[in-house]
Amino acid sequence: MIKKGILGVLLLWSTPYFAQVFLQIDTLEEVVVINHYATKSGGPNALQMSASLEETLDRDADLDLIRRGGYAAEVVYHGLSGTQTNTMIDGMRIYGACTDKMDPVTAYVDEQNLHSLEKKGSNDVTIHSLNLKLKRGEFVPTSKHYGSFYSSVNSNNLGTRYGGQYGFNSMRLWLLVNANGSRASNYSDGSNREVRFTQYEKFNAMASVGLKLGRNEFSATLVKDKAVDVGYAGLPMDVSSADALIARFEHQTMLGNTNINHQVYYNSIVHVMDDTKRDSVAMHMDMPGWSETKGISGRLNQTRGNWLLRAQYELVQNSRRAEMTMYPENEAEMYMETWPEVVRSFASVNPSATYYFNENYDILVSASLSTGVDKMQSPTGIKQLEVFGYTMPDGIQTNAGAGSARIRFRKSSFEHQLTLKAGNRAPELSERFGFYLYNSQDGFDYIGNPDLKNEQFLHVSDDVKFDQLGQQFYAKAYAYLFDQYIFGVQEPAYFAMTPGGGGVKIYENIGKAFILGGELGSSLFQSGKIPTTAVISYRYGRSERFGYLPQMSPLAFTLNHTYTWKKLQFGLSNKWVNRYNRASLSFGERNAKNYWLMDATISTNLPLKSTNIFVELAGNNLLNQYYTTHLSWNGIPLMGRNISLMAKWSF
């Protein structure tokens, strides 16, 4: 009985059309299914098919989006910073090439590339990691071709999206290719005013092939993603090109009852900012950035008696640099390296074991250890650091580690789990070596600090679920305690480099900080006429020295209903978010008013011979609310009412 349950770990439940849902049995990961209707649960993932990846993620109560324009929103997990959460693409490390966080990792894939998002809880060095799992083919007994074409249009920003996919599955070979494009003009906010610099254009393609030779499975995947002409309303600059190439080769086999998986990967990002479209700039600047990552990683899963054993390893090398050239009138150009080239190499191991005492109790313990070195390659970078009195050693050794334990109790309709995790994280590149990185929100130039210590954390999470007769309730409470919290502290003696800047902040370990948060949710009438979900969430964070922590989402309430009438499916989503009055002033945040968003969808499937046409009409922000969230960079207003129409033909 127990074994069966454990085997279920690796099972993927697949039903036709929308309802592709993970059977979530063991892993600590929580999974958000992307681009599929999860009709059964009808939960926060009762999606709009035409939603973009970011819109999909935004519906998850754990996640919020930092919006700097109409594209490339940055995902925030429980209000943690991007350096405290680690975003990966299918287990591959990838690091944005922009010093100003204009290119979060999520911007380098298209939702059509993705199968799901895993929110990993405890088996990683970082507190949490988000893993964007790529789609893949399957080895099946009978060969099958499948594919689709889709297109959608938006009324608000005249945005269009289109794409096609082709796949082939067989016993020994699978193929999967898709190509996707999207473009949009500026959107209008809830007062029908155009928000300039919210346009974007993107092209994405993915090709993946799998081969099975005996017990060995091989696969190779290539993703190319390029965005051009991307506006960033919240920043003083836009992006002319953000280009990524992601390549991976994977091998998987079973040795006895051990599942072994290895991958070798490479990714490269080139990110070029652009200020030529702005009406007036104090001075023209060029700010390109590069990031290149090579990695090998692998994992072993073994079931042995009542044990599930797992080990993971990683060898990663990331090289990043960014520079800034300014062109004053009639004077020599000015050049500096905002990220002097640094190669960060690290190795990590992560063993974990789950023991199933009986049907009701299990415990998981996990450890992660990582060791690495940061080597500055740029002589200019070393000279720049001299300005602040730092002498750069040959390399900065970085060790980090974390340990976690989770106890779970399950009995019929009741589940309770308690998770404890403690560890520390190494400073990110910007925190350690950044050179006058302008934060347009607080108006300060940030300077890295090579002497930073690791940030310490302790995370406790308590989850309770109760499920009876199609009525599900859950409650989740969590806390994060930090010591040596890394935060920018103003240094009054230093000049801002950016014209008009407020000054300079240097990353420092500022001592203690905490985040408390919780979620209450219910999923009701799932077998009834109007399946409904409701979620309330809230987060609160403070630091010892600098008051409120930034990015703490205020009280939010989401209510979703679905309804099926004949062949039509209706969805209605209401989200009410309380005012944000705990802005972190030392982070440049501003308070935000409360808002209410109402979305609705009507969709249907029209079978056409052996194929299907899916049509969806969706309305977002139907009340045409003028709103900004606590994470709207510089308070930019978000999109007003939008009607979108989508059609997708699948075979």
Binding site: M326, A332, V387, P499
Partner: protein
């Protein structure tokens, strides 16, 4: 751009060369064409610009500089060779720089030569030209004492204005004229740079002594961006009117190093001084 002080570089090169020369002489019993002098000359010619050379009787004096002579502080190097073509190691030099203008003559600040290499009699002096040759004729006279004889060498060099001013003159509230010349950086670069200036005053047309008791403050500034840089070290007096400090440039581009100079009483001599330095 070269990160290292060029004088030190050339010194190091010379030292290396002498070591190499010793090594070669050690081996020379086997090989018979070691010519360290050739290499010495190569080093001189690759590191310095020959400004002029003059032969009087059996002695030839050659003067060198880092580059063309400019308005401002110039290091001037010299070598004396006898009729056999050997370098004279034991000689004394008294410089007499003079500007000859249609209506008047005046001297300019200078420093006596110091021996850089005893064996070759390679000397380093300095002259701070306070105006370019377009204003008149510069006479750079050197009275050389060798073997109890005096030889009056006279050169007529051309002094040009550099692209960026390296010498500032001002009149203090004491009504004295001051000449402030930038010695270092000569090849400025991002990061920390030695900042060295030399300060002279004018007693009369023929006398320009060094000021050794001034205090100075510096502030590097990027005028196009309106920002400075942190952690600079104000120059303090070292010797012979030379003041040494540190300046930080956080990026390339056009910098101004603003300076305030006070005399020993704390009276501000000038607070409107600035050197333009473009990296």
């Amino acid at each position: 751009m070269c990160a290292i002080d060029p004088i030190n570089t050339s010194m190091k090169t010379l030292q290396t060369l002498f070591l190499a020369g010793l090594l070669v002489s050690a081996i020379s019993c086997k090989k018979d064409n070691p010519d360290p002098i050739d290499s010495f000359e190569e080093t001189i010619s690759s590191n310095f610009t020959e400004i002029a050379s003059q032969t009087i009787d059996s002695y030839t004096l050659t003067i060198y500089a880092q580059s063309d002579l400019i308005v401002g502080y110039n290091e001037i190097y010299m070598l004396l060779m006898d009729a056999d073509g050997s370098y004279v190691s034991d000689y004394e030099v008294h410089p007499h720089p003079m500007m000859e203008m249609p209506m008047m003559m005046h001297a300019t600040p200078f420093e006596y030569p110091k021996v850089v290499d005893t064996e070759k009699g390679f000397m380093r002096a300095s002259t701070t030209f306070i105006m370019p040759s377009t204003a008149g004729d510069w006479h750079l006279d050197y009275h050389v004492h060798v073997m109890d004889e005096e030889y009056a060498f006279s050169f007529n060099p051309t002094v040009v204005s550099p692209e960026e001013t390296r010498m500032l003159s001002f009149v203090g509230p004491d009504e004295k004229s001051y000449f402030l010349a930038l010695v270092s950086p000569t090849a400025p670069e991002v990061g920390e740079n030695n900042f060295e200036v030399v300060l002279y005053t004018k007693l009369d047309m023929m006398s320009f002594p060094a000021v050794t008791d001034a205090t100075m403050e510096i502030e590097p500034w990027m005028p196009s961006m309106s920002h400075g840089s942190p952690n600079n070290v104000n120059p303090v007096h070292d010797e012979l009117g030379h003041y040494m400090g540190k300046v930080n440039f956080s990026m390339t581009g056009h910098w101004e190093v603003k300076m305030t100079i006070k005399n020993a009483d704390g009276t501000v001599l000038s607070d409107a001084l600035a050197f333009d330095i473009t990296l």
